[in-house]
Symmetry: C2
DNA sequence: ATCTAATTTAGAATTATTCTTATTTGATAA
DNA sequence: TTATCAAATAAGAATAATTCTAAATTAGAT
């Protein structure tokens, strides 16, 4: 908490109670929440908080490079406070998104026709699978 | 064209002129168009076509497994008539999406903690880079 | 304590997608 | 060929996520 405050004080980022609640909720969060998830959570402590604040804050954090948008769900945007490069595995039954920490870059040589056309920057893998809970429910 | 008609006649898929226009537009299309792209295009030949028809047709084709949704752009959904497994590379400047035909599955061994939790089904890689045209524009 | 630019808020606006319903039509079979 | 009818179309309303607006509040600097 103190650490979070110190970190953002330096960075032209005014710390309001609402923002602190968002930062606290995101800190170490591996659930890949949506704006609505965040809104619902901080509403408990700040019942008058508005959606605009959540979106504004996410926007600001994104611009500062403190969070990333996860492009997996075309219904809602998900946010990831873990900005270290990593991949995801999504359960096709319950849509849970889990982190995959492994760098595959060395194995991902692109075909020549692509190398001719693109200067590559990075890669992100979406694995799809069925999580343990959903396997149980299906009786696999 | 004849091929398309024959293919869908068999499959409980009524062939209307609008649908044929959509199918024709999608056939072999590697541009990963949005519903709006498709709408704009077929409007030329069918000025009274409605958005609902485009969405209905895409929905039907998706359910038949004839097209895939590309989960890359969180503003609009993109559609891909190429249902063969393949990956994508996206230009971070102009957002062009190109196909990458190469199977990396053998290299993509998941970490053990994930293997314990998930039964894996498939993988999809999003590469990010800068396309030739955009490199030129930036003077790289 | 004062000041000010940044932030918050409520609600309106926007945009992609889905839904509704009356009308039309493709495909089948008489 | 024509009648039939389930399925498809079209226009526009509804929905839902996100963005915008503008007035009021406030964090942090002086
Ligand atoms: Mn993650
Ligand atoms: Mn493709
Ligand atoms: Zn699951
Ligand atoms: Zn480009």
């Amino acid at each position: 908490m103190k650490k979070i405050i110190a970190k953002y004080r330096k960075r032209d980022f005014k710390l309001t109670p609402q923002r602190l609640a968002i930062l606290k909720y995101l800190d170490g969060n591996t659930s890949h929440p949506t704006a609505d998830d965040i809104f619902t959570n901080i509403k408990k402590a700040y019942p008058t908080v508005s959606f605009a604040t959540v979106y504004n804050t996410l926007q600001a954090l994104k611009e500062k490079g403190e969070i990333l948008e996860v492009t997996i769900d075309y219904e809602k945007r998900h946010y990831d406070p873990n900005i270290a490069p990593h991949h995801h595995i999504i359960c096709t039954e319950c849509n849970k998104i889990s982190d995959v920490f492994k760098d595959y870059s060395d194995s991902l040589m692109l075909p020549n026709e692509i190398l001719k056309e693109f200067k590559t920057i990075r890669n992100h893998i979406d694995f799809y699978g069925i999580c343990k809970e959903c396997q149980k429910e299906r009786g696999d």
